[in-house]
Amino acid sequence: MLIAVTGATQAVEPSERLADPVLEARARAVGQLLRCLVCQNESVDESGASLAHDIRVLLRERIAKGDTDTQAIQYLVDRYGEFVLLKPRVEPATYALWFTPPLILIVGGGALLWRARKRRTIAPPEPLDAAEREKLAALLRDGRE
């Protein structure tokens, strides 16, 4: 039961936390959307790197000053580029990233369905005529000896 309860790791230090719990909750949520650029596969909320700490502090400052979540995020995107977002935005530059997998799934799935349907409509072979039946019998006799 205790193991099931462990949540995601976090690196937010007590000294970083904002006094206002609502703002702190927003800061935590935004921190989980931002990539720590040192290890690059952790969020700013989870990472123990000093850059992550700096960004967490900056985030809390901006949120406390009245920035919306979007504004705070954009502040960092302006300086670090879109890679700082863990989830890429959906925009012309990333259409290929977002839409190719479902597209391949649909095209591939469609191709499989088409092949399956085609197989069912293949006509059974025509029955053999007399000459062919004789030939078949001869071949089977020869094979047995």
Binding site: L37, V38, Q40, L51, D54, L58, L76, R79, Y80, G81
Partner: protein, 178 residues
């Protein structure tokens, strides 16, 4: 024409192989992050000076092509690139502003005493805030600022002789000439 469909797996493989060959080519650093600050004006700098003199500000650029070099005493590659910085400062007479990033000022002073000081002025960015404004995510990083105060290039990692001669010097000469 029916046969053509049997080439589909080969074609897919070729596309994937091409993509991997491009992404895995030698010298490519997959963790390298291109700067989002190119062609933007350099952020406002206002830091205490390492030598205790006048504060370091954007006025330190003086309308010249300037390099801003983020370094730290705890940074090993910074020591490796130091000779290149000294060469740029003394031989090529390029103004370099040093930013001591996330460091203990005393240790930075020791470093510059030990290796020499290539910087016209050195600012202290202990909390890394100026670093975030520039989009710094590691040290060393070097930014080329043009005469108009805009960031034109970012070098992530130490400046090697190749980077110095192949990229930085030609770029600085070009920017200075314009």
């Amino acid at each position: 024409m029916r046969r053509a469909i049997y080439f589909l797996p080969v074609a897919l493989f070729a596309i994937l192989a091409g993509y991997f060959a491009l992404s895995l080519r030698p010298g490519r650093d997959p963790q390298l992050l291109p700067s989002a600050m190119i062609d933007k004006p350099a952020p406002v700098i206002d830091l205490a000076a390492l030598d205790g003199g006048a504060r370091v500000t954007n006025g330190a650029f003086g309308g010249q092509v300037t390099l801003i070099n983020f370094f730290a005493s705890w940074c090993v590659p910074c020591r490796a690139e130091h000779p290149m910085l000294m060469r740029m400062a003394s031989q090529e007479k390029i103004p370099i502003v040093g930013i001591d990033y996330e460091d203990t000022p005393d240790r930075a002073r020791h470093l510059l005493d030990e290796l020499g000081n290539p910087y016209r002025s050195t600012g202290i960015d202990q909390d890394g805030r100026l670093g975030i404004e520039f989009g710094v995510y590691g040290v060393p990083e070097t930014y080329v600022i043009d005469k108009g105060g805009r960031i034109r290039f970012k070098q992530v990692g130490p400046i090697s002789a190749d980077v110095l001669e192949g990229t930085l010097l030609p770029m600085i000469k070009k920017l200075a000439g314009s």
